[in-house]
């Protein structure tokens, strides 16, 4: 009985234990790791991943997946930057529509929401597997980004906009405030609302959820829309940090995001997991990235190491599911 309880506790805190061990090892190996400035640096870097991983968690909880978050992030960042910097011109009507900072940010987030909703619609209406539908969106959004930017970065976005990605508020970086707020809202949604219960129910057993009267399509579209909006927030943060919307921004971000979700203990088959687990997963990925850089490990080896960590996390997840 005690052994069972011990085992259950170990599974519950596995991400936390992994993070602790990782931090301990890196503190021993690099004297630059355990410093306040490096800690804020890591937190600032993982803020973007936390934003997109929060949306990814909601999707994975419904037994779906979204491979398009990186491209959606790039497109939304580019649209925000483009509207803020250049506005829209209608030469035939002699009309110029300028965007305020607020307007450009809203437009970016609305774009992300629309693309997410489109993903959800394609998945529910045409029964396209999420993997395929979002893979298609990955290409579509990247192409649209190239069209919008003409392949060039959009720079010079102004100090106020830079504040989102580089500013500090009450001694904490602004991106950390933004990602923290998103996490808080997502935790409330998953734990305290009907939508949250539906998300877990659909992931646990979609047919049973349908039979019990849950509007599965509506919930899925909502979840993909939220994920798209959060990818847009990530895009705005990246653009703000770099003071530039890069056409190739967000490449392979979906992998880091899925890694954070899986390492955080969310089951890829849906119905089991948590937002806070994903936050831990994102921190592990961030700390791992940071540690490998501090240890001067070649970026090529970094990818190999990250791949093995993800594989290990999935194996542990499978093993836990079997034992459950």
């Amino acid at each position: 009985m005690n052994l069972q309880k011990y085992r259950a506790d170990l599974i519950r805190f596995q991400s936390f234990i992994a993070l602790f061990l990782l931090c301990l090892a890196l503190s021993i190996m690099s004297d630059k790791f355990l410093t306040v400035s490096n800690a804020w640096n890591v937190m600032r870097q993982i803020s973007v991943n936390i934003c997109i991983s929060t949306g990814m968690t909601l999707i994975v909880l419904t037994a779906g997946i979204d491979l398009s978050v990186g491209s959606v992030l790039a497109l939304c960042g580019a649209i925000t930057a483009g509207l803020l910097r250049n506005g829209i011109e209608f030469p035939s009507g002699n009309l110029f529509i300028g965007f305020t900072l607020f307007g450009a940010v809203v437009a970016g987030i609305l774009t992300g929401s629309a693309l997410g909703a489109f993903n959800g619609w394609a998945i529910t209406k045409f029964k396209v597997p999420p993997f395929v539908a979002t893979l298609a969106m990955l290409t579509i959004a990247r192409g649209l980004t190239m069209l919008w930017t003409q392949g060039f970065p959009i720079s010079g976005l102004g100090d106020t906009f830079l504040y989102f990605g580089t500013g500090w508020l009450l001694g904490i970086p602004v991106p950390v405030w933004i990602s923290g707020t998103i996490v808080l809202i997502a935790v409330l949604i998953t734990n305290k609302t009907r939508l949250g219960r539906y998300i877990y129910a659909i992931g646990g057993n979609e047919s049973a959820s349908k039979l019990s009267g849950i509007n599965v399509s509506k919930v899925k579209i909502t979840v993909y829309t939220i994920a798209g909006a959060l990818a847009a927030v990530g895009g705005i943060l990246v653009t703000s940090r770099l003071d530039s919307a890069q056409p190739n921004a967000g490449t392979s971000y979906e992998l880091d995001s899925i890694a954070a979700v899986v390492i955080g203990g969310t089951s890829l088959s849906g119905g089991r997991g948590s937002i806070l687990g994903t936050v831990q997963g994102a921190i592990i990925i961030g700390v791992l990235n940071n540690g490998l850089v501090l240890l001067n490990v070649s970026p090529f080896w970094q990818q190999v190491v990250k791949g093995f960590v993800i594989l290990l996390a999935v194996i542990i997840d499978k093993s836990n599911s079997k034992n459950d």
Partner: protein
């Protein structure tokens, strides 16, 4: 009744967001304020007044490669330029050498140099990117009111290369020719790869 209140509240919210998001102006007023930018003219003047005079300061490619091996930081700090932060930086280089092969999209050149005798690639078909614009270090992003204008300068510079620099060279060059070249290259400081250097040409001469 509740529904109507909800719709009205939503409409008010949308109107409020829209009011704070966009503003409308006549396009000619905006254009008059910024004076319409002629990227082609700017690029042409940049080419003759800033880039070509700056080519006297281009570093010899063999010398650069030697310096990259011995003191990478010095090579990057003394000879590279870039507009943003990051590891990707641009160099204006020059050299002479013998043509090893003339291919559809590129010309392979064995560089004549005291120490390093690398083989470099002269790009003769797909000229794109910001290498030439940024390599000189003579352009200031703050001179531009919007990023499209700034990007268009690059596009126009690349057009000059495609239309005026490459065709006369490409039509005559053959294997074994001795040539002089000046051009721009892109190198990543963190992941330095000097094995297949691609040069975007600024000046090409056959010197047989």
């Amino acid at each position: 009744m509740k529904k109507i209140i909800r719709y009205v509240a939503s409409l008010v919210l949308v109107a409020l967001v829209a009011y704070n998001s966009v503003y409308f102006k006549k396009l000619d007023e905006v254009k008059a304020g910024t004076a319409s930018f002629n990227a082609a003219k700017y690029a042409s003047e940049f080419w003759t007044k800033k880039l070509l005079p700056h080519t006297t300061r281009a570093i010899e490619i063999g010398q650069l490669l030697t310096l990259l091996q011995t003191d990478k930081n010095k090579a990057f700090s003394d000879y590279s330029h870039a507009l943003g932060i990051g590891n990707v930086r641009y160099f204006l280089v020059k050299g002479s050498g013998t043509v090893q092969a003339v291919e559809e999209n590129q010309v392979l050149v064995k560089v004549a140099s005291e120490r390093e005798k690398p083989e470099v690639i002269l790009v003769t078909e797909f000229v794109f990117g910001n290498a030439v614009r940024d390599a000189s270090g003579e352009i200031d992003i703050n001179e531009f009111t919007n990023s499209m204008d700034f990007n268009n300068v690059s596009a126009e510079i690349n057009k000059i290369i495609r239309e005026k620099i490459i065709p006369p060279f490409k039509s005559k060059v053959k294997r074994g020719d001795r040539i002089n070249f000046i051009g721009a290259i892109e190198l990543n400081k963190e992941h330095l790869n000097t094995r297949s250097i691609e040069i975007i040409p600024v000046d090409l001469k056959i010197t047989n």
